[in-house]
């Protein structure tokens, strides 16, 4: 009879705990500490790959890339990562490009099944040792009111302005219309989607 009691308690405790539900994937960490996100390894991969890397003062800018735009598209998303290797914080003030009337920082959010995009106020601080990361599903640069379309393989120039480090011109290398990471630029944030447009 004691056994029955034990079984009952065990069953109740299982019911109370409920079925195991995996925790949702963590929201996008826009600011990652080097090391915590495996960037020392990433640096090795970058060194062996053709993805461009830029240095401006104590800032290291890695693999700027964007997607080719479908015909007639007025917007394009751009991505890169900026690491502050210095001992003082810096701030990303603005981004400018000839290709677009303006370049804003936006964030994609999913709430349930609803996708939304919200502008993020600049300047954006980059603390010493931190990486400001733009990647699909999180922060992206929104090239708005495009003056021309972007084709796969294009290198789109843009100027990044920082409060302390100053200005630098970088090139965003365009992948396909559905690219999920820089071409040949280290591990993609999400698995690369195999789709290539068949018609341009």
């Amino acid at each position: 009879m004691k056994l029955h009691l034990v079984a009952a308690i065990a069953a109740i405790s299982i019911v109370i705990r409920g079925p195991f539900i995996p925790p949702p994937a963590s929201s996008h960490p826009a600011f990652g500490r080097p090391g915590a996100d495996g960037s020392p390894q990433a640096r090795l991969i970058i060194a062996a790959s053709p993805a461009p890397e830029y240095t401006l003062g104590s800032l290291r800018i890695k693999a700027p890339w964007m997607r080719a735009t479908p015909k007639g598209a007025m917007v394009a998303g751009g991505y890169l990562s900026i690491t502050n290797l210095g001992i003082k914080p810096d701030r990303l003030l603005s981004i400018e490009s000839d290709i677009a009337a303006r370049v804003e920082v936006h964030q994609t959010r999913m709430s349930g099944e609803v996708a939304s995009m919200r502008p993020v106020d600049t300047p954006l601080a980059i603390e010493p040792g931190a990486t400001l990361e733009f990647r699909p599903g999180g922060y992206h640069l929104m090239f708005t009111d495009l003056r021309r379309g972007v084709k796969e393989g294009d290198k789109v120039k843009a100027t990044l302005s920082f409060e302390k480090a100053g200005k630098i011109e970088v090139e965003f290398v365009a992948g396909g219309v559905a690219a999920m990471g820089p071409a040949g630029g280290g591990p993609p944030m999400k698995p690369m989607k195999p789709m290539k447009p068949m018609k341009m």
Binding site: A7, A11, V15, P70, A76, V114, A115, V177, A178, M198
Partner: protein, 202 residues
């Protein structure tokens, strides 16, 4: 007395076991998309919209054919182009097997997405995706039928962006909901669900 205690304990034991079983059944059916429950959801309905392929496309034209519907807009840098490309790649992977599946991209931004701009936009993708647009009222109606949330969100300088449901609906030959896919679905999952959609009898 002893018998009574035993009965009480058996019942006490049976309740959580049954509850556990019920939780299991619910979780299982949710995972596998219980088709009858989806059909009963009432999602889907009649529509007649302007098609990027020319002319109008109505729900009547789709009778007897399974189809995919999703909602988006062309001023969307991330989710919309990648979803269009994903669906194209699933259909390409199915090959001739999936030939009868129609894939519809309904604009939730009819103000900016004209038939011509949808046609241009989709010309950058394999030609399996049909763009649909209409008057704001027609879009509101189709969104209501598919229980799709969308809303305009103003940006600086009079610009705006759209919040919208990114769910992909799989509709059966009767125009009833038979399954859903999320925008980040894995190709294997998507292809398996599309095969099931094709296999379902009219």
């Amino acid at each position: 007395m002893l018998k009574r205690i035993r009965t009480v304990l058996w019942v006490a034991c049976a309740i959580p076991v049954l509850a556990l079983l019920w939780v299991g059944i619910v979780t299982f059916t949710q995972r596998t998309d219980d088709v009858s429950a989806l059909q009963a959801s009432g999602i889907g309905g009649r529509f007649k919209l302007q098609s990027s392929a020319g002319g109008e496309l109505s729900s009547e034209n789709l009778k007897g054919k399974p189809f995919i519907v999703f909602f988006g807009f062309t001023h969307c840098p991330e989710i919309c182009p990648t979803t269009i490309a994903d669906i194209s790649s699933w259909l390409a992977a199915l090959g001739p097997e999936g030939k009868e599946i129609k894939a519809l991209f309904v604009s939730v931004d009819p103000e900016r997405d004209s038939v011509a701009s949808l046609k241009d936009y989709l010309s950058s993708f394999p030609d399996r995706i049909i763009g649909l647009t209409g008057t704001p009222e027609q879009i509101a109606q189709v969104a209501k039928e598919y229980r799709v949330y969308y809303a305009k969100h103003p940006l600086k300088d009079g610009d705006y962006t759209m919040d919208h449901s990114a769910l992909i609906y799989l509709m059966d030959r009767d125009g009833k909901l038979a399954g859903t896919l999320t925008y980040d679905a894995k190709p294997e999952e998507a292809i398996a669900k599309l095969r099931r959609l094709l296999a379902a009898a009219a």
